[in-house]
């Protein structure tokens, strides 16, 4: 599903990731861990095509990124749900609209969107907050809105960048359960985190990243 081969990415001559090679199979749930600035976010950004690798090759869901036309990027991105570290919620839209936008972009009709979004909000336990605005939500609730937006389009890959960053332990556990549920439905899940509790005893692969390199792989 995701293949990196000798991938390097520079930021102002400084390599953010160096010669990274790994593969993630369809339906897997993997974790990427490491200290801040290790290159976890850069790896995710390359997967969701926000950054281009300077060297090496990347294949996502059979799409070779080096041969991908710019006009095709939106269509690949629709296969990738992203839980952004900074949420990227639209403050002037309510919870429903924040989730629905992912479907509107896909050209779905309002009548179809209504039921589907409510269904997803129910899954993340936010149905009762559909009319609330992001500012009125707690950090955990905002995080669940972002997850709902990421999965509402039924992507084949779900990426999460520090999804439990500022959350308390109970909320973080709830979010982790949600990712497992999503993965159980067949979605490939990649989570970048420096929170050990998130992957401990999960039995999933964990890539340890440091200074832009994959320095180890273990089972969590």
């Amino acid at each position: 599903m995701i293949h990196f081969s000798n991938v390097t990415k520079f930021y102002e001559r400084q390599a953010a990731i160096k010669n990274v090679t790994f593969s993630i199979e369809k339906g897997e749930m993997v974790f990427m861990t490491g200290p801040s600035g290790a290159g976890k976010s850069t790896l995710l950004k390359i997967i969701y095509l926000s950054e281009k690798p300077d060297e090496g090759s990347v294949t996502i869901a059979e799409w070779d990124l080096s041969k991908l036309k710019e006009s095709s990027i939106p269509f690949l991105r629709r296969n990738i749900g992203v839980v952004f570290q900074d949420f990227r919620l639209l403050d002037n839209r309510n919870v429903f609209d924040n989730v629905a936008i992912a479907l509107r972009i896909r050209g779905m009709l309002d009548s179809e969107i209504q039921d589907w979004v409510m269904e997803i909000l129910k899954m993340v336990n936010l149905r009762h907050k559909a009319d609330s605005f992001p500012q009125a939500l707690s950090g955990g609730e905002q995080q669940r809105v972002v997850i709902a937006r990421a999965i509402v389009g039924e992507p084949t890959i779900l990426l999460a960048d520090e999804p439990t960053g500022n959350l308390d332990t109970d909320t973080a556990a709830g979010i982790t359960r949600l990712f497992k549920e999503i993965n159980a439905r067949g979605t490939t899940v990649v989570i970048a985190t420096h929170n050990r509790e998130l992957y401990r005893n999960t039995g999933r692969r964990v890539f340890r990243i440091d200074s832009g390199n994959i320095v180890g792989e273990e089972i969590g």
Binding site: Y48, L49, S50, E51, K52, E70, S71, I73, P74, F75, R77, R78, V82, F84, R88, L90, I101, A102, R104, I105, R106, G107, L109, D110, R149, G153
Partner: protein, 292 residues
């Protein structure tokens, strides 16, 4: 599809910045109204010059002592010229009669003259397509060669002036129309650019969620269209007020202005022009949307 959603986004954005947008609409309307006035002036100059061939004539003064038969032969020769529409013989007596008609109460000027001083002449009307500086000069030169013609007169200076006025008016108005159109496009461009920057973060999120260029552009193009068409409608309203005041109020005081003609096709053309310029401004403002 997403067009309905884009329309909703555009309306929300237009409403959110209603005062700035109103200002833009008024500026666009002012620009389009200036274009209308320019077009009105050029349209009337053009009409006036189009009417010129019907009134324009070339006078041929004949040698003294030429018989009517000889004049008839000259007319026959003239009619062979492709540029000549009609030729009318004016005998000496008839010329004097016509002059007296023109002088009316001032015919005392002619008192004391023993002899009719006016020569016999032929007035020729040229075909429409020959009434231009080059055409008339060519015909005059050809006619001069005919035996029995003393002088050819066609108001060369007048013809030159009319044509240079027409040329200057056309060049000036075209420049003004281009400048004003560029101004209207610039207003739309700036308004849409500001709206785009204001929603930059939202657009970045849309891109990351898989929005296509069409999805991102559509609300802004709709905004540009609405601004343009609103400016067009406002300028059409201003043009109507101008028309009403000029043709119903001013002409009552200055009747000569009744010869002016207002091109009615301007009214529907203004919203269409506004729409196209609005879309143009929006498209330029959005530029090339990049995804990576």
């Amino acid at each position: 599809m997403y067009l309905l959603y884009s329309l909703r986004l555009a309306i929300q954005s237009l409403w959110r910045e209603k005062w700035i947008n109103l200002l833009s609409v008024l500026t666009i309307a002012a620009g389009l109204f200036m274009i209308t006035l320019t077009f009105f002036v050029v349209y009337n100059i053009d009409l006036a010059t189009k009417r010129l061939p019907a009134r324009f004539s070339v006078m041929l003064y004949l040698n003294d002592g030429l018989s009517e038969q000889e004049a008839g032969s000259i007319i026959a020769q003239l009619k062979k010229n492709n540029a000549v529409e009609q030729a009318r013989y004016i005998a000496k007596d008839k010329a004097l009669e016509e002059l007296k008609g023109v002088l009316k109460n001032a015919d005392y000027i002619l008192e004391g003259m023993d002899e009719n001083p006016l020569p016999a002449s032929i007035e020729i009307k040229l075909k429409k397509e020959s009434v231009n500086i080059a055409g008339v000069k060519k015909v005059a030169a050809e006619i001069k060669k005919i035996k029995g013609i003393a002088e050819v007169e066609y108001g060369e200076q007048f013809l030159n002036s009319i044509h240079s006025i027409k040329g200057m008016a056309k060049a000036g108005s075209l420049s003004l129309i281009i400048i004003m159109s560029a101004g209207v496009i610039f207003v739309c461009y700036s308004t849409i650019k500001i709206a785009f920057y204001r929603r930059k973060e939202e657009i970045e999120t849309f891109k990351l969620l898989g929005a296509t260029r069409g999805f991102i552009r559509a609300p802004f193009v709709i905004e540009g269209s609405v601004l343009g068409i609103s400016g067009g409608i406002a300028s059409a309203a201003a043009a109507f007020v101008f028309y009403y005041v000029l043709f119903y109020k001013v002409t009552a005081a200055i009747p000569i202005l009744k010869i002016l003609v207002f091109p009615f096709e301007t009214f529907p053309a203004l919203p269409v022009a506004g729409l196209l310029l609005g879309i143009g401004g929006a498209v330029i403002a959005l530029g090339r949307i990049r995804f990576s």
